[in-house]
Subunit: 385 residues, 2 copies
């Protein structure tokens, strides 16, 4: 609900601020206006052999300003981090009209408070970001992709956690639950195994030997945790097929009913098995379809609720199941949102995760920068108290 | 000047809060009290094959609380980032005595404002950090070390910038200037080439082939930029010798005169050659010895001023040369400090880098959290205005 003016007001559209201001490969950075689309920057960086790693699933349409607002992540989070890790500086219009430059064009700086990182993930509540300076990374030149099928959610969860402490750091480690696998098979000819969970892994490096070495380590972990089927992609096409499956999950699930909500909770790695099992129980208890997939490598799960939104009883059950999901994540030491943000929908749950002291400090910062509360009022539970 | 109570008051010593509270390899994190020494954590993580990458030069004595206060960096910054990139959460005592938990135990979270990153690098001006939750990384298992000697500062600077856009990302890329090389040779039997600049590079990965591949790419860049002598370490001992040279720079230079000040400025990569040449000119103009070395791979230079601090004329020239250095860094698009912080010494120069709007926002945050200005008054130019 980040750009929804629930109290009336104005929705500011920065789509036309879509200029790539400067790409400086020698300084390892790109300066862009807020309305530049992620993939447009990716295309501009590609000939130089560089990229901006977060790679959100919505990369074809999402803007970098939006990425900054939510601290967007994506499939490469476990190894490469999220948007915040790459934002070196911002140009921000404050609510009183003053223009503020934060950060610098240096990879490293500890000069004053880090106002840049404060604005990243602030969901448009503190100022209007108009220009962004991003650190960029050289692309690796080799990768290896593999998958494994698990008959048991507990085994899959343990395989994720063990992978992340096996000594290697996969570039991608994704999970797809049974409902997602079934929906994909119904809509494609990928013929995925219809098991409790499938894990998809990609390792990267500069030489093929390096990436194969890492995948071997991961596949050993998978075997130890009772993977039923293991397959290493032999060709680029095979690898692309596997990623195609992951990428189609959202769309094919959305077709199954009239309504769907994609959730976004994160738990510490060791609790992934419990989270997966807990989500299954919530699905059963409230009799609502929850198809889980996500970025298992950093504990970020995307349970997708698929339901008949025209049936008031179902809508109530969906709401209760959502609340149970947030409570589950917090009870496991997790967080309400790994990358999508709080907005309106999760505002009521902020107290589950943050103490009154922390909320008070956040509200103080909001009042300091936006005393008239003109930017995104009602979002992130910052109005109360 | 971070822990110097210049206005009287109390210096708070957290050295006895030195417990490693929890190491959770399966969650990829460590929870430590603020007084834990960097190397003590490194020793505790080592048997698990994990590490906390920033690796400051003072690792034997610096505490993790201090690392958080200054957002400490080290030789691995270019590839692995600085302290801020690894702090997932904090326990902070606010100036009014309230205790605040920030962040979470998740690798990824975008729930509310990032109060954690606001406190990292705040130099003890906003609260007392007592406990830190750190993301940790698996160690790579192979590395390759090489060096190159350059007769010309311009060539060396260009070699650094070109390396950083050659497609590979060295784990370490350090520079040692002529004065440092001469001082090291006078105090050791390392027999380093006494050239204008020596570059030291380390690449890492899981297989030897991978790290050799990367070093080859770097050495090609060095050759293209007129490196006079190039040497790849053939044994672990040879590699250690080269790092020994780099590590001894500070100490051997400190012996040359009665006083020394280690500076810390950072410039965008493409400006390193200009920075090196500019520093040489400042040294000549003010007739004061400045030996430059540092983390070239992220543009972070450490010009070390070595001088007779009992001679008032020399002290004046040293002061003027320092001011000229800060101005040079800012003129080149750089920052006053890459990793050591602002403290007292650079407070007067904050206006060179930050606009009045940015300073006003920083001061507002300081007043919000510390209305009575009891924490580190006088530091970071936060009292003025």
């Amino acid at each position: 609900g980040m750009s929804v003016p629930i109290n009336g007001g104005i929705a500011l559209d920065l789509n036309h601020m879509n200029k790539i201001v400067n790409i400086s490969i020698e300084d390892r950075l790109a300066v862009v206006q807020a309305g530049v689309v992620y993939d447009d920057l990716a295309r501009a960086l590609d000939p130089h052999g560089f990229f901006f790693p977060p790679d959100p699933a919505s990369s074809q349409v999402c803007t970098l300003g939006g990425n900054v607002a939510t601290n967007a992540g994506g499939v490469k989070g476990a190894k490469y981090g999220t948007t915040r890790d790459y934002v070196l500086g911002l140009l921000v219009v404050l609510p009183d009209g003053r223009i503020m430059k934060t950060g610098s064009q240096c990879i490293k700086s500890v000069s004053g408070y880090d106002l840049t990182k404060l604005f990243v993930g602030s969901e448009g509540t503190l100022g209007v970001v108009t220009e962004i300076t991003l650190k960029i990374n050289p692309k690796t030149t080799a990768s290896t992709t593999a998958m494994a099928a698990f008959d048991d959610l507990g085994d899959a969860g343990r395989a994720v956690s063990e992978t992340m402490h096996s000594g290697v750091l996969p570039a991608v480690l994704e999970i797809l639950g049974r409902e997602a696998l079934m929906a994909i098979n119904r809509n494609t000819d990928l013929n995925l195994p219809e098991v409790d969970a499938m894990l998809l892994v990609e390792t990267d490096g500069y030489t093929q030997e390096e990436t194969d070495y890492q995948v071997r380590k991961v596949l050993e972990v998978f075997k130890r945790n009772n993977a039923r089927e293991i397959k290493q992609a032999k060709t680029k096409k095979e690898a692309e097929g596997l990623w195609e499956a992951r990428k189609s999950a959202y769309a094919v699930l959305a077709r199954l009913n009239t309504h769907q909500v994609l959730e976004d909770v994160t738990v510490p790695m060791s609790r992934i098995a419990e989270a997966l099992i807990g989500i299954k129980k919530i699905s059963e208890k409230f009799n609502i379809m929850i198809a889980t997939y996500g970025h298992a490598g950093d504990g970020n799960l995307h349970p997708q609720f698929v339901y008949d939104g025209y049936d008031p009883d179902v809508v109530e059950r969906k709401k209760a199941a959502g609340a149970a999901l947030f409570k589950l994540a917090i009870d496991l030491g997790g967080t309400l949102t790994g990358e999508h943000g709080i907005g309106l929908q999760k505002a009521a749950f902020m107290g589950l995760e943050h103490s009154e002291v922390a909320m008070d400090v956040m509200r103080g910062i909001k009042r300091l920068l936006d005393p008239n509360n003109i930017l995104n009022p009602g979002k992130m539970a910052l109005d109360e108290g």
